[in-house]
């Protein structure tokens, strides 16, 4: 994962609440087997007219937001499906940071696993950022994870909270799995201790049960 330390970029405003991950990557693109290449399909149904012609009504297609790398969004961003294709698409499109008042849980998690920083700001701060983005073409902000601030060149300075552990992983671009594997002895000890726990950790006898005439009963 690419570390995130500090990023300066053009802001693209997406003025809708509850943007769900079905909109970010519609289902027809969930059948691919890679993590790359989803940038083209980000917000597909909003972004394109039939024949994949850019829909001029959709904000990301406006020339002034071309090459934006920071999404400015509304509440509950990323709700719905757990598909990690959504953050893959956001990253692949070229976004590195998101500014919103709140996020859906799974999506928020998924961002950190992919080197995207979802910044949580207050509603008033988000409103102000929408106003500034609209006012000035080419409006840019700097998102600084080390200092935990969002700044612009007009003196705006908003500090934000982020969990210290997540911050650390993102700053260093750490591999989660590698971090957990350091605790392998603890995992083994846990398994040994709970091996006989009723119905919990005992190995399941898959071979014996698999596709045997099913015995699920009526109730």
């Amino acid at each position: 994962m690419e570390p995130f330390i500090k990023h300066t970029g053009l802001v693209a405003p997406l003025d809708r609440v509850n943007v769900d991950t079905d909109q970010m990557v519609p289902k027809q693109f969930l059948k691919l087997q890679t993590r790359q290449g989803y940038g083209r399909v980000l917000f597909y149904d909003w972004r394109y007219l039939p024949g994949e012609k850019p829909n001029p009504e959709f904000i990301l297609n406006a020339p002034r937001y071309k090459s934006a790398s920071v999404i400015l969004a509304r509440a509950n961003f990323g709700c719905g499906s757990s598909r990690e294709h959504a953050p893959w698409a956001i990253l692949d499109y070229g976004f590195r940071a998101i500014l919103a008042p709140s996020y859906a849980d799974i999506f928020y998690n998924n961002c950190f696993k992919n080197g995207i920083l979802p910044v949580t700001l207050s509603n008033e701060q988000i409103d102000e950022l929408f106003a500034r983005t609209e006012r000035k073409e080419g409006y840019r902000v700097t998102v600084d994870l080390e200092q935990q601030v969002v700044t612009d060149d007009q003196g705006l300075r908003y500090s934000f909270e982020v969990d210290p552990f997540r911050r650390d992983c993102l700053l260093k671009g750490l591999d989660d799995i590698g971090l957990t594997l350091v605790h392998e002895p603890r995992i083994s000890a846990f398994e040994a201790k709970n091996l006989k726990h009723p119905a919990m950790y005992e190995a399941v006898d898959v071979k014996h049960h698999s596709d045997s005439p099913q015995s699920a009963r009526h109730n």
Binding site: A75, S102, F165, Y201
Partner: protein
């Protein structure tokens, strides 16, 4: 020890490592995967030269893109075929058990886990799918994860997690006739909004929840995520134990007794404290129908499509305005006057035997409206399908003009060829009415199985309480 909730008991029992200021490492008992979100996890694992730590604790199934028409025909969609082949290969290479599309136990992942007894009380269960919350109906801690986390579980059988807050969602009193588990959960989401449960795990309780079958409890827990909650749970009780006994992956004999003894320790202690509480009174509930583009945009069947101007919050007003444009609905339209193009009875929310029985009872001896283009019944699993056929439900549906299909996700998500066309309107027993969810430009109204069945007969929504052959069971 201090009084603890069901959630806290399961959490505590699964802590592998805890350090102040860091997320907790918790052990995962059961891991479910499907073809849609797992290929990248396996390739990541391979690229890093890592192994699957406990392949016998992961179960795989093909559900999202499978055809519900004919499994014997070759899969024509090359991308879907690629995913099926990848899942087969990945499972064969790592020793993960796969219920492939021809297995007699195949079905939607959240239907087969409980049905086969893979899902059990007290477990931690994860799956790369947000509706994993379904399994919480058994008193398990079950939640959806992303693909990076799938890879993490495959490699370590653990996850790093932050503890959630708890909300007790109490449905007090008895459920009125015609009001199902689906209506209860839609009412909850309507009340708190789709982000209302953010950061929480719900525990459903109260007389109306206790009175539900396991099927009904699964329907409620399934949609916890639509209220923003990480998970939903119901404390295990006699209903749970009776459901468990005899299922293929559940221990038998003395071991079963041991398991029940343990399960009985799980319910929240009497003085356990929750971070928040929500109480609804069952007597106030009615059959629900969504009118907008998220599950929180919902109202009672006897109501009308709301006027966006009636929302005090400007953000809600704006969202409602946009939703009505997408849904092509006018404020003030009576819900019962909304006519439909297709009806879908299926999905991990409402495709279990009890759902199909209830729907069949409504349509028996009647016929779907001529104006309808299609009425689909898609059993959640092949086990459900076989059981329904043994009771003759398939014949009831077919005689009434429904199509009777093989098991899969189908028109809940439209990843196979069961889709809503642009501009078409459906009554659907699934869980999401997002823009384009069932097909680009399609308009979805979420309802219970009996409401969907009655709507299919009339061609528009009807208040099921006026039909006297309905007991509202499930």
């Amino acid at each position: 020890m201090a009084a603890r909730t069901l959630y806290e008991k399961i959490w505590d029992a699964h802590v592998v490592r805890e350090e102040p200021g860091q997320p907790t490492l918790i052990y995962i008992d059961r891991h479910l995967i499907h073809e849609g979100t797992s290929p990248q996890a396996f390739s990541g694992l391979k690229a890093a030269g890592r192994k699957v730590r406990r392949p016998e604790l992961t179960f795989a199934v093909m559900d999202h893109s499978v055809s519900t028409k004919n499994r014997l025909l070759p899969v024509l969609d090359a991308d879907a075929r690629g995913q099926f082949e990848a899942l087969e290969r990945n499972c064969a290479e790592t020793g993960v058990h796969l219920f492939d599309m021809n297995s007699k136990n195949q079905g939607i992942v959240h239907i087969i886990g409980p049905e086969l007894g893979i899902t059990q009380p007290g477990q931690t269960i994860v799956c790369g799918d947000s509706h994993t919350s379904t399994h919480g109906a058994f008193g398990a801690l079950a939640f959806g994860i992303g693909t990076s986390e799938i890879e993490h579980v495959l490699a370590t059988q653990c996850l790093t997690q932050f503890k959630s807050k708890t909300m007790k969602v109490e449905i007090s009193g008895k459920r009125p006739q015609g009001v199902t588990a689906k209506d209860i959960i839609l009412a909850v989401i309507g009340k708190i909004g789709i982000a209302g449960g953010n950061g929480y795990v719900f525990e459903y309780s109260g007389e109306a929840v206790r009175g539900l079958s396991m099927e009904g409890r699964m329907t409620m827990c399934n949609m916890s995520i639509e209220g923003g909650a990480r998970a939903g749970m119901v404390a295990p009780d006699e209903t749970t134990f009776a459901y468990m006994e005899g299922r293929p992956f559940v221990p038998r004999g003395k071991e079963f007794q041991g398991a029940v003894d343990f399960w009985q320790t799980l319910p929240s202690d009497r003085d356990a404290e929750y971070d928040d509480t929500l109480t609804l009174y069952a007597r106030d509930l009615a059959p629900m129908v969504t009118w907008g583009t998220n599950p929180g945009m919902v109202t009672q069947v006897s109501d009308r499509v709301p006027d966006p101007a009636s929302f005090s919050d400007p953000v809600d007003r704006e969202a409602a305005t946009r939703a009505l444009v997408y849904m092509d609905l006018k404020p003030g339209t009576a819900i019962e006057d909304i006519s439909l193009d297709r009806v879908f009875i299926g999905s991990c929310t409402n495709s279990r035997l009890e759902d199909l029985r209830a729907a069949a009872k409504v349509v028996a001896g009647k016929h779907v409206a001529k104006s309808l283009k299609q009425a689909l019944v898609v059993p959640g699993s092949r086990v459900v399908k076989a059981e329904a056929e043994a009771e003759g439900l398939d014949k009831v549906f077919v005689a009434a003009g429904f199509e009777w299909r093989d098991a899969g996700c189908s028109m809940c998500i439209g990843m196979n060829d069961d889709v809503l066309l642009s501009g078409e309107r459906s009554a659907s027993t699934s869980n999401r009415n997002f823009e384009g969810r069932q097909g680009k430009g399609g308009r979805t109204h979420l309802v219970s199985p009996v409401m969907a069945a009655a709507a299919a007969i009339e061609g528009h929504f009807v208040d099921i309480r006026k039909w006297n052959n309905v007991d509202g069971a499930e």
